[in-house]
């Protein structure tokens, strides 16, 4: 019997589509709406210790094949956000709590706090490219990635995911470091650091000047990263970057991802994208004799000369 259910580090998902961090997940009720639309799991907005307004607008630029954003990690702070997680949990869909911090101690403290708030897993944001002192500024060296994962892992019982940056010469070294540090899974990729300039205004459009590129445009980069990581680690990989239909998801799965996250496609497709990806995946599986998603994970690695 063909089915879409997946198991990632003990987390049971009814299907492999996960809401990516930063999209429709600042409030519990929005996450309930995403769950209703069919997501198999949801990652929260990246949460820090204190309320944070994020960057000045413009914080987003619409492009032909994606978005450039520099939201700047806006969030209400972990204390206030606990109520949103509680609300989102009513969906019955696993909630993955995303946290960011300025040091390994702060990150591990937040990992503990978001677990306490009810998160079924914790995703470390080691990869936001546009917030000074956070994200990829900490997550760009294997040494720090390993240290941060080790510290965080000690504080929590739920699975630990490390979300990695592609803005590095070797994402597979970062993934190997996360695995060594005790991460239960890696998530790849976060946005690619970029800039858009308005020739009319003679300046970058984003108030933060540079930001992170997401959407269709980055899918080949994401697929390549997942493919490389699959050859470097044994822990599960969650693929993310430019997934908007079933075939996009299949690329990531065949490269080695056990599940996928969807974010920017919510802009173009609405929340219906989760159901769309799932039904297209199922159709492909039925046509090609795959019973479960896990049978397809990493198949693109075989048959090479």
């Amino acid at each position: 019997m063909t089915h879409l259910a997946v198991d990632i580090c003990g987390l049971r998902l009814k299907n492999p589509t996960i809401l990516a961090s930063g999209v429709l997940d600042e409030t519990g009720k929005s996450m309930l709406a995403v769950a209703k639309a069919g997501a198999g799991a949801m990652v929260t907005k990246s949460v820090g210790k204190e309320p944070r307004a994020g960057h000045q607008n413009p914080s987003i630029v619409e492009l032909q094949h994606g978005l450039l954003n520099a939201m700047g990690l806006p969030n209400p702070g972990i204390d206030a956000y606990a109520a949103e997680i509680k609300e989102a949990k009513k969906s019955g869909v696993p909630i993955i709590g995303s946290v960011f911090g300025g040091s390994e101690d702060e990150i591990s403290e937040l990992a503990g706090l978001i677990e306490k708030a009810g998160a079924d897993a914790v995703e470390l944001n080691l990869s936001c490219p546009h917030a000074k002192g956070y994200g990829s500024e900490l997550g760009s060296t294997p040494e720090l990635v390993e240290l941060i994962c080790r510290n965080a892992k000690r504080r929590i019982k739920v699975p630990l995911f490390a979300k990695l940056t592609p803005n590095t010469s070797s994402i597979s070294s970062l993934a190997a470091a996360a695995e060594k540090g005790g991460a239960d899974a890696v998530v790849a990729i976060n946005t690619l650091k970029g800039m858009v300039i308005s020739p009319d205004a003679r300046m970058p459009i984003l108030a933060n000047r540079f930001g992170g590129l997401s959407g269709q445009a980055i899918r080949p980069v994401g697929v390549r990263c997942v493919y490389e990581i699959h050859e470097a680690v044994r822990i599960p990989i969650v693929g993310v970057g430019g997934i908007g239909n079933g075939r996009d998801a299949l690329e990531y799965i065949m490269a080695g991802a056990s599940a996928v996250q969807i974010g920017t496609a919510v802009w173009t497709e609405g929340v219906g994208v989760f159901n769309k990806v799932c039904s297209e995946l199922l159709e492909f599986m039925e046509h090609n004799g795959y019973e479960s998603v896990k049978d397809m994970v990493g198949v693109a690695h075989s048959g090479r000369r």
């Binding site: 409030t27 009720k29 929005s30 309320p51 994020g54 987003i60 009319d200 205004a201 300046m203 459009i205």
Partner: protein, 254 residues
């Protein structure tokens, strides 16, 4: 980027920009206005038929910088976004509080063009702040003015004026834009009279395209599902008139 063709005062606190470029917007839809180097913010289209224009209140750094722009200067515009007003019936009552008149003014013109009879309750703090009163009259609407200080028309809130208009006449639909308290009050009045209603809402908006969740309202999004919501939607909102999100996403009381 869009070029400013005309920039004028409407009231002591509101200004209108008419652009050289055209943009096909439905009354009630909004655009994201970028003042380079300063800010980007949502703004309702106040001219949507022949010309495209916006009318804004000068309240923060962004709108102050916008107010200083001269004819011929260029600013960024993206959009139009969201859902606008839709004509339901032959006799419509529009209710505008303060700058809430901006999106209703083109809707009045559109409605009259469609042979609809329009009454407008136009409220403001004082008579100088009555926005587009003459424009609504010229379009052919019957205008009922109310001011908080009684300097013109009925002294009191727009909702009180609406209650008195509804005592004598019946409408197919009520359309509102203004302070959230006014909209909550109108919902009650509309229910009492069994009249359907649409209202345009406001929240802090960052992306404008339905992904960042900053304008979330009970799991819906003002930028994509709104800004104009139907009565059914308005009644379903537990947060309406009670809480909104601040820039960090924290729920705060209204």
């Amino acid at each position: 980027m869009f070029t400013i063709a005309e920039h004028r005062d409407e009231t002591p606190t509101t200004r209108t920009i008419i652009f050289k470029e055209k943009l096909a917007a439905v009354p009630g839809q909004f655009v994201m206005v970028w003042v380079p180097g300063v800010d980007e913010f949502p703004m309702s289209a106040s001219y949507t038929s022949k010309d495209f224009g916006i009318t804004y209140q000068v309240i923060g750094d962004g709108t102050k910088a916008l107010a200083a722009k001269d004819v011929g200067e260029r600013i960024g515009i993206r959009g139009p976004y969201g859902k606008g007003f839709a004509i339901h019936g032959k006799r419509l009552l529009m209710v505008a509080g303060g700058a809430g008149m901006a999106p209703l003014a083109p809707f009045i013109e559109e409605s009259v063009d469609h042979k609809v009879i329009v009454d407008l309750v136009l409220g403001a703090k004082t008579k100088d702040e009555l926005l587009f009163e003459g424009r609504a009259e010229r379009a052919g609407a019957k205008v009922h003015v109310s001011t908080d200080d009684g300097s013109k028309g009925l002294k009191g809130l727009a909702t009180e004026s609406v209650a008195s208009v509804l005592r004598n006449e019946k409408f197919d639909c009520i359309y509102a834009c203004g302070p959230e308290k006014m909209i909550v009050g109108l919902l009650e009045i509309a229910e009492k009279h069994g009249t359907p209603m649409q209202a345009s809402l406001e929240r802090i908006m960052k992306c404008g395209i339905g992904i960042c969740d900053s304008c979330a309202l009970d799991g819906r999004h003002v930028c994509r599902d709104g800004p104009v919501f139907s009565e059914l939607e308005l009644r379903s909102f537990e947060e309406l008139g009670r809480t909104k999100l601040d820039t960090s996403g924290r729920k705060v009381r209204i």
